[in-house]
Amino acid sequence: MATRIATVLPALVTLMLVAGNARAQEVGDATRGKVVYEQYCVLCHGEKGDGQGHFSQDTTPVPRDFRQGTYKWRTTPSGSLPTDADLERVLITGLYGTSMSSLRTTLNHQQRLDVVAYIKTFSPRFKTDKPEPAIVIPPEPAYTAESVKRGADVYDKFNCAQCHGDGAEGDGPSADDLTDDWGNPIVPYDLTEGHIKCGDGGPEIYRVFIGGLNGTPMPSFADSISPAEAWDLVHYIQSLSPTYPKNLTGAPNKPIDDFPP
């Protein structure tokens, strides 16, 4: 048995590597991406990728500074670089409540990959480091009243109110003194609003608990929260607004890039 595993395992690993490489080959061209960047991105994000473009003073929040390789919206653990797909996803969805609009119909897939490749050139981290393996998101249990009730207790246990407040309106005791990696003031999310920038579905919210939001005060609870607790917390947050989509049937998690047509 052990011998068989020893024979099969390298073969499997090889297969996985080949599959990984096949996907990895779908990369953008930074030279072509520069052209796209200078047309669509430079006015806010700046020529140097420092987030200090012409219109940057007029946006709240300010445009992302690409030079550190620090990104909030990722499928990867706390502190990790994002994947190319993570960066492309922001171009597709835009970011709700910010000046970052969707470029989904403006740019095709290849153009998006190209501009992602160019954006990565602003941070030396992409040359020496790789994104860590994606956060594993287990199947979402059904949204139920019991789950919401348990989730309210999870909200208390994990002291979410410290920043987000007792009523989850983003007004906790620490709310007024938060800054991001760039020293800009940043406020905790008002979770009752019913919209979360990176997506309102269960898996998207779950991912924020586990990965945290790099560059912001939102930490990772990967080492402290159990999957069951995290799902209950997702459902509690979703209970705070009728706008949130709710998985009433316990349907399988939608793939993250399964965007509606």
Binding site: Q68, E132, L178, F221, D223, S224
Partner: protein
């Protein structure tokens, strides 16, 4: 603020408790170190082969550098920290620990190290983690040092939410950001794969601050409450000895070490 210029250019040898299926020599130590910690729960950095920046040589008759760090002038008066949240637990105010000066004038929490040393004794191979405790709404210790490949155990003794958020001190770039949601929580994480000065903050309690010097060489010491430091097993030669204090900044002195001898190098920092 000056940071260590040298960076390890690959060649870290990592052995994993889980098995030999990962590459032994890898150029992505940061990624693999974190991955391994996740996969196996343990990480053994059994050997550090340090290319370019530092070479391990036998040191049989090294010298010792010792000294005391003092301030050149009176200790600046710094107002206590005004606690603005969780006062019921953290209290109304906390003495500000930026300058901790003993009765003989020795300054605590100064990191003293040999700059640009290229060869000498081996780095500690002991994988035991350094420790950073969140206690009474402060980090303990305030200043400490570690070597590349070591881990850090982060824990909380407080019944309030803390988050331990190490950043590169020069760029403020997040290294990671770990929630410590309740009393008794503890977790062990790898330090970054490259040496750097790390600033640690707790966003939930913005006054909390700690500093971790991560080196790729073993010649460093953090001053205790008497301001004294000792650096042992130094190969004979002339070196630049640097003392760093979070507010006063850096002061460099030249020091010549003779075989088997102890040299005293007292340092005066200009308070700011």
């Amino acid at each position: 603020m000056r940071l260590i210029g040298n960076r390890i250019k690959g060649g870290i040898v990592i052995e994993f408790a889980a098995g030999p299926y990962l590459p032994k020599a890898c150029r992505k130590p940061r990624l693999l170190a974190r991955t391994a910690a996740v996969v196996s729960g343990t990480l053994l950095l059994s050997q550090l082969a340090l290319a370019d920046s530092y070479t391990v040589i036998p040191v049989t008759n090294g010298g010792t550098i010792q000294g005391t760090v003092k301030l050149a002038g009176p200790t600046p008066t710094i107002a206590p920290i005004v606690v603005t949240k969780n006062q019921d637990y953290c209290g109304e105010s906390i003495p500000n620990p930026v300058y901790v000066v003993g009765k003989d004038g020795g300054v605590q929490n100064v990191e003293v190290y040999l700059k640009d040393i290229t060869k000498g004794k081996a780095l500690p191979t002991d994988p035991v983690a350094i420790s950073l405790v969140n206690t009474h709404c402060m980090f303990k210790p305030r200043v400490q040092a570690a070597t590349v490949g070591q881990q850090i155990t982060i824990s909380s003794e407080d019944p309030v939410l803390h988050n331990t958020h190490p950043q590169n001190a020069e760029t403020n770039a997040t290294i990671y950001n770990i929630a410590l949601p309740y009393k008794g929580f503890s977790v062990t994480k790898p330090l970054p794969a490259t040496p750097e000065l790390i600033k640690v903050k707790c966003d939930a309690h913005e006054w909390m601050r700690a500093w971790i010097w991560e080196f790729d060489q073993p010649y460093f010491a953090t001053t205790g409450d008497d301001g004294k430091f000792t650096i042992k097993d130094v190969p004979p030669g002339t070196y630049t000895l640097v003392a760093w204090q979070e507010a006063a900044g850096e002061k460099s002195v030249s020091v010549t070490v003779a075989a088997g001898k102890t040299v005293t190098a007292d340092i005066q920092l200009q308070p700011k």
